[in-house]
């Protein structure tokens, strides 16, 4: 639930008087933390950096999905489709597949755009559906996209996947190592989360919340639910697309295996385990869902068994998500003194 989040965000200080001191302090803390992050992470062993990259990619995905599930209350079990669209748009536009070799930057935009469009197009037919019915249809869409990737051999090279994807360059610098990608991913992730937060606090976010709470009443007060829902689908899909493009550039190989129904479930798990509709929760969830399986590496083939137990345990202990509802960005900012 985003309710209290937004409430704090909108109604701190009715007069709108700004406490400069507090703001400066908060800003200082945040900048300090960022600097620490940027300085500290690259000094870690590459394996950890790679894990962090993965966390950031999944954070992008989860932030996107959270807009649909958490804000607008529309359960989407096929979100991975947009990730796939993003990934394949980089794979096709920057590889030997069709011998097209566009640079990374533009494809990031294109991939995001394509995914966003797909999100809207898939959104239109399901406007009337909600709850589990929506979930199943989106599941269907997700599988259809994956199967198409697997079957349209002439385009996507089918199950063989597309290998030897171009090395991405940004402003002339090659993105090679996980460290390079960390420096790309971090700002993008921060941007995405901030964007999501600003949206959550904006009138659009309120509109989504209203739709989640009572769609009919929402229409009754003049909310164009069609438009609001399509915006949700489109925006979330766009973030998914970004994640996909980066993933493809990162792996330099894409194949349909990476976009299975299971991946969609993982993203849903992230936002639910973190705390649905709460961005802090999304961040925590992404970290947990990516890091825990790595912690269990040492158990070799017992890993998935323990992972399953861990999932059930976490959900039983914190059904509402690890992060409590009101421990949202606004709460953190307040703790930092931003008022």
């Amino acid at each position: 639930m985003t309710s209290e989040a937004t409430s704090r965000a909108v109604s701190i200080d009715p007069g709108g008087k700004i406490h400069w001191l507090g703001r400066v302090r908060a800003a200082a803390v945040i900048v300090a933390m960022l600097v620490a992050l940027v300085y500290f992470v690259p000094s870690l062993p590459t394996y950890y950096v790679r894990i962090i990259d993965m966390v950031l990619i999944y954070l992008l995905l989860a932030t996107g999905l959270n807009m649909v599930v958490g804000y607008a209350g529309l359960l989407d079990l096929g979100f991975i489709a947009f990730y796939a669209i993003g990934a394949y748009s980089y794979a096709l536009l920057a590889s030997g597949q069709f011998d097209i070799h566009l640079p990374f930057g533009p494809i990031l935009v294109v991939g995001g755009g394509l995914a966003g469009m797909a999100g809207v197009l898939l959104g239109i037919p399901v406007l009337r559906l909600r709850g589990d019915y929506l979930a199943i249809v989106t599941l269907g869409f997700g599988e259809i996209i994956r199967l198409l990737m697997n079957n349209l051999v002439s385009v996507t090279n089918g199950p063989q996947g597309i290998s030897r994807i171009d090395q991405p360059f940004l402003f002339g610098f090659p993105l090679k190592t996980p460290r390079d990608f960390f420096f790309i991913l971090l700002p993008i992730a921060i941007f995405a989360v901030t964007l999501a937060w600003r949206l959550e606090c904006s009138i659009l976010g309120l509109g989504w919340a209203a739709i989640r709470e009572d769609q009919d009443a929402a229409r009754g007060i003049g909310i164009n639910t069609t438009l609001a829902k399509l915006l949700a689908f489109g925006l979330s899909a766009t973030l998914g697309g970004f994640a996909g493009v980066i993933f493809a550039a990162f792996q330099r190989f894409v194949d349909p295996v990476s976009f299975s129904f299971w991946e969609s479930l993982t993203i849903v798990l992230i936002i639910v385990i973190g705390g649905v509709g709460n961005l802090v929760g999304v961040v925590v969830g992404a970290a947990v869902l990516i890091v825990v399986p790595e912690l269990l590496r040492e158990y070799s083939e017992y890993r998935m068994l323990l992972y399953g137990c861990a999932l059930v345990a976490i959900i039983l202990v914190r059904p509402g998500g690890i992060v409590g509802r009101h421990h949202n960005p606004a709460w953190i900012m307040q703790k930092l003194g931003w008022r």
């Binding site: 958490g70 249809v137 059904p319 509402g320």
Partner: protein
């Protein structure tokens, strides 16, 4: 007036075509019956708890394994005149064992989450599914285990199509089970309680029905049926393997949705329809399109139908019609 050669060749082709179609129909019905049986478990649980029970597919898988060992244990007897009894015994035992497992899981993993958002139990079920699958893989077997056929390998030829005894058995048995279940739910007091709870738990509670009894019952019967489906499936295809659950489960769930989630006859219909769809997609589409649309498009075909049905009739074939408002509950998220 066709040239005589063409006519003769047509006459020659005709029986081939019919036998082909009949064969495909038989295939469709068999796989459909199995889907239908599993779909029942999904539909019952969903009908009452509105819970997509991802663990159900693993019940089906566990059922196969349990029966495998029971059959192995009773192998000495099965040859004798007791054979039939032994088989029935194994069926019953498996039903009970897996049923109890289902009840246990509900107690442990779902009941504590009744008050939570509806996503929580769904994902906890997912976790249970992972645990069950890996547990079987690690502690039972990675290898596909050869499952004994408890029926003599008799096969009949119906206008050129091969129909085996176990195919007939599967369809008949499945239908029989479903009829029994329908009778149980509609005709007995326990069944009525179940229906009451699924109609409106609150009201049921007010009427003094202990909600937990029907729910336990459902988590006994659902997995039990899933397990029986597991036996049929295993003996029909001749193997059990730890990884056999997920995909079949997903398809069965889709069948349940197609037929109208929450409706027993719907699950039945949905199962058969999905069976037909798949067979059509894999067997006929390529023939009709001369291989332009290959059999690999089967699932795309099936999923597209699912999507279309849901978009135009969210309630599925037999489910009660749902309004846009009816699709979502206050505590969804």
């Amino acid at each position: 007036m066709l040239p005589s050669r063409t006519r003769r060749s047509l006459q020659r082709i005709k029986p081939v075509v019919t036998s082909f179609l009949i064969q495909q129909l038989v295939n469709a019905l068999t796989i459909g019956a199995i889907y239908a049986l599993i779909a029942l478990g999904y539909t019952m649980v969903y009908g009452v708890l509105r819970l997509i029970n991802f663990a159900h597919s693993e019940m089906f898988m566990v059922g196969g394994h349990v029966a495998f060992f029971l059959f192995a244990a009773s192998a000495s007897l099965s040859g004798s005149a007791l054979g039939v009894l032994v088989t029935l015994g194994v069926f019953a035992a498996t039903f009970v064992v897996v049923g109890l497992l289902g009840v246990g899981i509900e107690e442990a993993a779902y009941r504590p989450l009744r008050r939570a958002s509806r996503l929580a139990p769904m994902l906890s079920a997912l976790g249970v599914a992972i645990v069950l699958q890996n547990a079987v893989m690690l502690f039972v077997s990675r290898r596909p285990l050869p499952f004994p056929a408890f029926l003599p390998p008799i096969s009949f030829s119906v206008v050129g199509a091969v129909v085996t005894l176990d195919q007939i058995f599967i369809v008949v048995f499945a239908v029989a089970l479903m009829v029994t279940l329908a009778w149980f739910v509609n005709g007995t007091t326990l069944g009525v309680k179940i229906r009451a709870v699924s109609e409106n738990p609150r009201t049921a509670q007010l009427l003094g029905i202990d909600v937990n009894t029907p729910i336990r019952l459902i988590f006994f019967i659902g997995p039990g049926l899933g397990a029986l489906a597991g036996i049929l499936y295993a003996s029909y295809y001749g193997i059990v393997v730890f990884s056999m659950g997920f995909v079949v489960g997903l398809k069965a769930f889709i069948a349940a949705i197609l037929g109208g989630i929450g409706s027993i006859s719907g699950a039945m219909l949905g199962g058969f329809v999905l069976g037909v769809l798949e067979t059509f997609g894999a067997g006929l589409l390529p023939k009709l399109t001369n291989g332009v649309i290959g059999s690999e498009y089967r699932d795309i075909f099936a999923f597209s139908v699912l999507v279309l049905v849901l978009i135009f009739r969210p309630a599925g074939f037999l489910g009660e019609v749902v309004t846009e408002e009816g699709m979502v509950y206050k505590r969804d998220f």
